[in-house]
Symmetry: C2
Subunit: 153 residues, 2 copies
DNA sequence: CTAAATGCAAACTCTTTGCAGGTAC
DNA sequence: GTACCTGCAAAGAGTTTGCATTTAG
């Protein structure tokens, strides 16, 4: 996998190693191909490597984040969620507060805001870390039809 | 305080009570008048009421959130931060990943994005819950001048 | 009065850390 | 061989919960 080669070279530059655990976590991220919690990634890896520890998953995800191989956002439930950085075109995540589903939106319509933040405050928005809460179409409809949806939790 | 009267009526409708603890937490939120963690609110309240427990603070903040008296966002450090809902004009929070400082931006420049999310996905963005990560002006400058800033953590 | 709320202690979840043994290069 | 890395166990932060007691209305 070319992605693995690239990571290997990056690691080597800093005297770090491409271990079998790191390879497996990278594979799991490719397989999942979506925002996933450390626990989900751990479970996925565990099916093949039952001896893997969750602390290794955390350590590896932090490493991959430093090398910008994965991006990380905060879910609405306090957990971090990770995905491969080159997963697709630049996008932000919208998390439904009612059902927890995640939607992706291209960043074009955010450009006015990004420009505004930069011009008015000199603030550089990190688009990859953006996680936006709200209510999705389906849950909106359900709420209007009278069904009570639990408010988070 | 008129805010207290309003809350009292809302509570009464559901058979709930306006206790002295709830009043004190409401005061603390007014005094702080900014995004604050449960711990900060707890410490603030504790100065006057040393017997208050942090679990009461959590329970009350959850209650105030249900009644839409406070809004809640996730900080970049995994903590929830709360502030009074009518704190000021509608705004979003931008959190600097390097120094942790919080900046407020009016939501106007986000309107294209909010409209886009609604039209394309039927997704209703909750502006109040928005917390946007990035790098602030000062930290940008420091980084360019060569100072190494720790990457989160 | 009595249902709701509090304080206390203990549990729980997610994440990080110290360390002895294992492994990439 | 020697740093780096891992699994294990234990700690740590933030938050939640069960229960006996207190209190608002």
């Amino acid at each position: 996998m070319s992605c693995e080669q690239g990571l290997f070279r990056s690691l080597r530059k800093k005297g770090l190693r491409l271990t079998s655990q790191r390879k497996r976590i990278l594979s799991a991220l490719h397989e999942l191909d979506r925002l996933a919690t450390a626990e989900e990634i751990f479970q996925s890896v565990r099916r093949d490597s039952p001896s893997m520890d969750i602390s290794t998953v955390y350590r590896t995800l932090e490493l991959l984040r430093e090398f910008q191989v994965v991006t990380c956002v905060q879910g609405n439930d306090g957990q971090h969620r990770y995905e491969l950085a080159h997963h697709s075109t630049p996008h932000v995540h919208m998390v439904c507060r009612a059902c927890g589903r995640v939607f992706e939106v291209a960043i074009e319509s955010l450009q006015p805001f990004i420009a505004c933040a930069r011009e008015q405050h000199g603030f550089e928005v990190d688009v990859h870390a953006l996680s936006i809460e709200g209510i999705c179409h389906a849950c909106c409809a359900q709420m209007r039809s009278g069904t009570i949806i639990s408010h988070r939790k």
